[in-house]
Amino acid sequence: MINRRRLLQAAIAAPAIIGAPARSAGTIQMISHRYPALEYYAEKMRTAIPGVAVNTQLMPIDKAIELATIALSAKSDTPDIVYASDTTFQTFVKNGWFRPLDDLWARYADEFALADFPQAALDTYRYDGHLYVMPHTLNTMMFFYRKDLLDQAGKSPPVTIAGYRDLAKSLNSPLRSGSINCLKPVDAAVNETHWYLNALGDGWFDADWHPAFNTPKSVAAIEMLKDVTRSAQQGFTTAANDECAIAYQQDTGVMGLQWATRAKAMDDPAKSRIIGKIDWTAPPQGHARIAGDGYAISAFSKQDPDVLFRIIATSASQASMRGAASLLIPPRKSVLDDPSLRDANRFYPAALASYVAGTPAPKLPEFNAIGEFVTRRILQAVTGESTVKVALDAAAGETETFLKGHGYYKG
């Protein structure tokens, strides 16, 4: 018999019966960068919890960061789940835009086998001792090259950047550029510049966060970048990862730097004309960028944090990550150490070698903002609108002014 007491009992028991979704109101909004691995994770989030609608908006990284910045700076309660990289998360956390995950991490540690994440991967996303992001990928820039073309020319992959420049020049032709460069501001240009500055120059900053990218060694490093781009594909100044990956796939370039997460797509018959022809190695002289991607919860979300965490954790579960292993370097020990996956993905050895030889971005919350004016100045130099020295000195001046305004250099 149905009476008021029964109804009340049923109402109380309902969430337990149908699960946490009952507490979640409306569609959950997620903003993310887009590449094959993240598209895979987005799909996992959409289906993570039956009955919970997740709207995933995927876009190029600069657009994703801008959209998230605009929304979160306005304290908007959407998005709920936000893409974060090793650099963007610092900015967002410093501004108070992300919710710490420590309590949720502890609560769901067993259910989602969270101890499986390497401490180093988690440390990347800690700020003031708190964890803010669940890692979904480890990423590294590798050196992509056309093995068939180098074999035909009797050449080996370059071991120095000067060797890369010379080889690119010798293989450059109107229909197929010797080098593929991605210098679209901000993110792509930062990535490429990072390699030259760290392998040949003095890096981005000194120990006190004063610019080191305009020292004589760093100026020479960017001069080298400018030299390499003389053999670059058309449109390299507006090319980001998507455009560069297409340049490889459509057989219009020979070699260059690219993220490991783009490696698998080189052998995708639906997208690539160069199946089996690309090979990978660690970038000459090392020090290319290593990074990671993950997802965080907005501090302003009105959705149930448990639901949001479960969605993120489901997409990063062991099973999910095993399915994504061909698209990325998985940040779970159980997947990373699986020999069958290593054998099945021929880019893994180069990716791991690149990761070991790589260098992370500076641990500076303002790094993305600084990248905005530094990369524009570098582009001015590369396109001949300014000399390298003048451009880098101008960028250094702007950087110091900006950081001073943010409380650096006191005393």
């Binding site: 410093k94 210098l183 501001p185 449109g235 100044t237 903002a369 004016f373 100045r377 001949g384």
Partner: protein
């Protein structure tokens, strides 16, 4: 209208960093910073150059086509309609469409020319060509507006003046430059003022086509404002730049109207 304007002026008096949330009153500090900022002057110069080139091209093309339509004896309505189409397309959509046309290597133009064995310049990646492309893109979209207004203006010219000039032996060009254009001068000032104001706010097309690049080759005042507000999160400074832009455009249009008004009292 006054509230957002007033709020922008108010914000421009603060060192307001959206990221850190810090907000300190600095009076005219943002303005003095901007006026001593090379990037501000460079973007202003670039804006003036792009705006003058785009509006100039739109006016010349618009006038030529409007006069052609004026002299046409059939099909004017359908041609007018077809030519107005680019103007009713949303700028972002138009810019995406144009990006696929001008894109290096894969774009419609580059792809076609490379297929014919001709290697075109990098329209969006070369600084000089990027500026040309941005001007062409704006002209493609807004020349129809010029055509429409000028064509309407030409049709208002007193027919008796035209017939008198024709009896005196005036040719087509003499008729246009000596009779018709002077007659519609206030309309020309109006359409140029409207387009100049509009072009100074030129943002969406450049944002999609080049994002202000390569480097800062196509970075206009509005793109610099956007970078300050949403990339560097310096809302106070971005507001000050918005106010400076407003003042600059207001002065420009006032000078234009003043010049015409002094030449021809009663025009406005």
């Amino acid at each position: 209208m006054l509230f957002p304007l007033g709020y922008a002026v108010w914000l421009s008096l603060f060192n307001y960093d959206l990221g850190s949330g810090s907000r300190a009153f600095i009076a005219l500090g943002n303005y003095t910073d901007l006026l001593s900022d090379n990037r501000f002057w460079a973007s202003l110069n670039r804006t003036v150059g792009i705006v003058l080139a785009a509006v100039g091209l739109e006016f010349c093309l618009g006038l030529a086509i409007a006069y052609g339509l004026y002299r046409l004896t059939f099909g004017v309505r359908i041609l007018n309609l077809l030519m107005f189409l680019p103007n009713i397309v949303t700028p972002v959509v138009a810019a995406l469409f144009l990006r696929w046309i001008f894109m290096g290597r894969w774009g419609l133009i580059a792809g076609t020319l490379i297929g014919l064995g001709i290697f075109p310049p990098d329209f969006l990646g070369d600084p000089a060509w990027a500026r040309v492309t941005v001007v062409l893109a704006d002209s493609w979209q807004f020349t129809p507006f010029m055509i429409l207004v000028l064509y309407a203006g030409l049709n208002t010219v007193d027919q008796s003046q035209i017939e008198a000039a024709q009896i005196d032996g005036a040719g087509a060009l003499t008729l246009l430059f000596r009779i018709m254009l002077p007659a519609i001068r206030p309309l020309i000032v109006f359409v140029l003022a409207i387009r100049l104001m509009d072009a100074f706010r030129f943002f969406d097309t450049i944002y999609v086509l080049t994002s202000g690049g390569p480097g800062t080759a196509t970075e206009t005042i509005t793109l610099y404002t956007y970078a300050l507000a949403f990339r560097l999160l310096q809302v106070g400074k971005a507001s000050a730049l918005g106010v400076l832009t407003l003042i600059f455009v207001a002065i420009l249009v006032a000078v234009m109207i003043r010049v015409v008004y002094r030449r021809e009292k009663g025009a406005f």
